[in-house]
Structure formats: C-alpha cells, structure tokens
C-alpha cells in the first residue's frame, strides 16, 4: 500500500508538536540541542537498560517511525518521564495510525520504568481524527519561514533548548 505524502513525518515531530511548536520547528531545521543535554542522555540509558530481555527492540519502519518494542499484539514506547503524557500518547497513537495504514493492527503501551507505570493506548476513530489533525498541524508549523516565537511554558527551564530560547544580548 502506498502511503500518502503527509505521512512522511517522524513520530518525534508529533511528540514535539504537543511539547512545543518552536522546538518542533528548530528540530526540523536540524538545530538540535539534544546532544548537549544530560537529561536526554539519561533517557537513552534508561531506555537501554530497562528491558534487556526483549528481543525486537528499536524497530525502524520506513525510516520514519522508530518503535522501541514490537510484540505480537502491541507496540511499546519507553519514556523517561511521565511529565509530558499527552505528547507521548500522541506519538504512540501516530505509530498505531501509521501501522494501521500498513494493514497492521496493534495496541500501544507506554512504559515509564522510572515511575513503574504503564498506560494502554488504543486507536479509536476519534483518536484517528486527532492524529490526522496533528499531522496537518506539524506540516503547518514546519512550513513557517521563521521559528515560532518563544512562549514561556512551565517546563522551559528543563528543556534542552532553554539557553537557546532565552538568551538575548
């Protein structure tokens, strides 16, 4: 099955759309700060050490979506922190939507090993519309000529882009 052009975006971008549009825009332009952030490194380490026994880890589909763990019935995403639940949920919903377009039907599970928490995510028709809407919004943000201006959020201070966004003069 031929996937439509609008699906050529990564799961991370859907995630960032819900975190911060500015972050999404900068990330899309290759202006990344992640490599300098200790928190991101910590997330990666937790990710690597949390589920050593699972075999099908880090599955990359069409160079676009990267699924942490793929099982018979479900896909799983491992997240370091549950402070941004909505973005994480939308990211996994996007994966489910994408897989459905490929004819694969699964459930999603979000794992927060640090908090010993898991959440089951299912793709309902309503959620499907939400995903489609998100895809359109990602496209709109990316199309902008200039980055969306800084809007102070409560998690800006923890964001890898904090110094970048808030430095002036």
């Amino acid at each position: 099955m031929e996937l439509s052009q609008e699906l050529r975006i990564t799961g991370v971008k859907i995630n960032y759309l819900y975190v911060c549009e500015r972050k999404l825009w900068l990330f899309d332009r290759g202006v990344c700060m992640e490599h300098t952030s200790d928190k991101v490194l910590l997330g990666k380490l937790i990710d690597e050490f949390s589920y050593p026994k699972e075999e099908k880890r880090r599955i990359l589909i069409d160079d676009l979506i990267c699924i942490d763990i793929l099982d018979e019935e479900e896909i799983r995403e491992i997240k370091y922190s549950d402070s941004l639940e909505e973005p994480n949920r939308m990211q996994i919903l996007y994966y489910l939507y994408y897989l459905k377009k490929l004819g694969i039907y699964k459930k999603g599970i979000l794992n927060y090993p640090k908090q010993r928490k898991r959440e089951i995510v299912e793709l309902t028709p309503e959620k499907e519309r939400e995903v489609e809407d998100a895809i359109k919004r990602v496209e709109e943000v990316i199309k902008r000529e200039t980055p969306p201006p800084v809007e102070k959020k409560k998690y800006c201070r923890k964001c890898a882009y904090f110094e970048f966004c808030f430095v002036s003069e």
């Binding site: 202006v31 990344c32 200039t146 980055p147 110094e163 970048f164 808030f166 003069e169």
Partner: protein, 326 residues
Amino acid sequence: MQKDLYIFSSGTIKRKENTIYFEPKEGEKKYFPIENISAIHLFGEVDINTKALNFFAQNNIIIHVYNYYGYYSGSYIPREKNVSGELLVKQVEHYLNKEERMYLAYSFVEGALFHMQRNLREYENTEEFIFKIKQELEKAGTCNDINELMGCEGRARDAYYDAFNVILKGKFLFEKREKRPPKNPINALISFGNSLTYSAVLSEIYKTQLNPTISYLHEPRERRFSLSLDISEIFKPLITDTIIFKLINNNMLKDEDFDQDVNYCYLSESGRKKFIKEFETKMDTTIKHRKLGRNVSYRFLIRLECYKLIKHLLKDEIYKPLKAWW
C-alpha cells in the same frame, strides 16, 4: 565534569578500551577516561594512531595542535554530526548580502571595542585611550565596507595597546604589537592567549550547527575557521587581556617563563603552564546570567554567542554582541 586536556610533554597517545592514555617519553603512563575530556590541546611532540583518532571522533572530541612556539596550528575535527543544511544556507546568505554582512561584522567590532573600553576603565589615566576607542566605534557605525570597518578596528586596537604601558606595572614594557614573531614578552603573551581563545571558540562552534568557515568580519578565505576569528574578537579582551594584566601586575611571571632573543620572544613551557592555569580558571568562572537567571561559565558564554548568532540567522532574534554587564 568535562575538562580540556593539555599535553606538554612528548610521547604517545593511545586508546585502551574506554580510556585514553598518554605515555610520555620518560615517566609513567597517565590514563584519562574519555567521558571526562572535552577537548585536547597538544603542545608537545605527540604520536597518535588512527585507533585513538577514531575513538576521539566517536566521542566528538576535538584536538587542537600547537606548534613548537605554542601557536595554534590546526585542529582535528571529527566529522560533523550537528549539521543543518538550512542554517548553512542562511550563513552564506548573510555573507553574500552586503548589508547583512556589515551588520554582523560591525556587531563583532562593537563587542570587541566595548570590552576594550571596559578593561581600560578599571585603571587610572586611561581616559584618552578610551576616548580614541569610542571615536573609532562611532566611525565604525557609519562604515560602508569591511575594509573601512577593519581600519576603525585596527586604530581602536592600537590605542588600546598603547594603554598597556599605563596599565601594566613592573619590568615589562610594551612597544608595539608584533605578531610574527613576537619580539617582547607582552606580544608573546597576547599571541599565546589569543591562540587559546581562538581554539576555545572553535570548540564551542563545533558543538553547534554553525559552520566555522563562513564569517563576516574576517574574510572566509583568510583562514580556515574564520568564524572563530570573528567571535574571538569579542572574547579576546575579556579573556586573554585580563589574564595578562593579572599575570604581570601580580608579578607572577619570571624570566624563565620566556624564551628570548633579540629577534623573538616566546612563552617557555613554564610560562605556558602558568597562562593555561589562569585561562582554565577564567573559563570555569561563572556569573549569574541576567536573562537566563542561571550561573554560566565564561566558556558557556561563548556557546551562548553562537546560539545568538543562530537565532539571528534564522530571523528569530536580532544579534547583539555580548557586553559584559558584571
């Protein structure tokens, strides 16, 4: 915390599992865990093999090489991972557009001259020099091309260096700025300090998506990493010169810290070590950033300057050079 590693002696650098070790010609091997190294500076005669180079590349560690006299001669820069095609295009656009280029070039001069005046204000009897620098800054604002701008910068710098004889106490007298080869101790200190500042700026540029070869005040064809020269202008008075004032005015330097002859003067190994110690202390010094509300080191201020430049290029926020407020 990651630190810059300075190697003065001659010997060999090799990799062993996840560490790097240095084996001097004489003496014991020294081991350095890779995660503690941010950049390496080689002053001695050092052999290094590709196994070690690959390991440095994997860990994004830059190696700066200095020649026999302690001057920067080049860097080993791992393949860039942080590339942004869009940013590169914008960097070039700003170079090709005359107005855009002049704006950035002027900004670097503005930052440099601001810090020169700031240094002089700390000392008595420097008013006439400050006045000259101020005049040149005003002229710089009306320049139509880079050459004129460079002229203003040069004259301001001459006035600034003239003030050194007022500022500096003790036996060191400063006649005039000579680069190659430096003929007196002050020139040797300036050249050495500027080399270190240049490589520190390059290390920070490398951590961002900026391309170090495209510059605005200096011509990109002038030297390979001319953006590093541009940004260094702002930091040289802030870092190099304040270290020189401290070393000289506190009588921290002795004759054996220099290798001298009628035709040249260079820092000896002991002199370089003293300078580097002060340099590292300075780079680690933190100040409370008024916009970020966080403590940032001098080294990080350089990175912030890169961020501001990126924001300017992306038309996010107009670039204003750092003007030390503390």
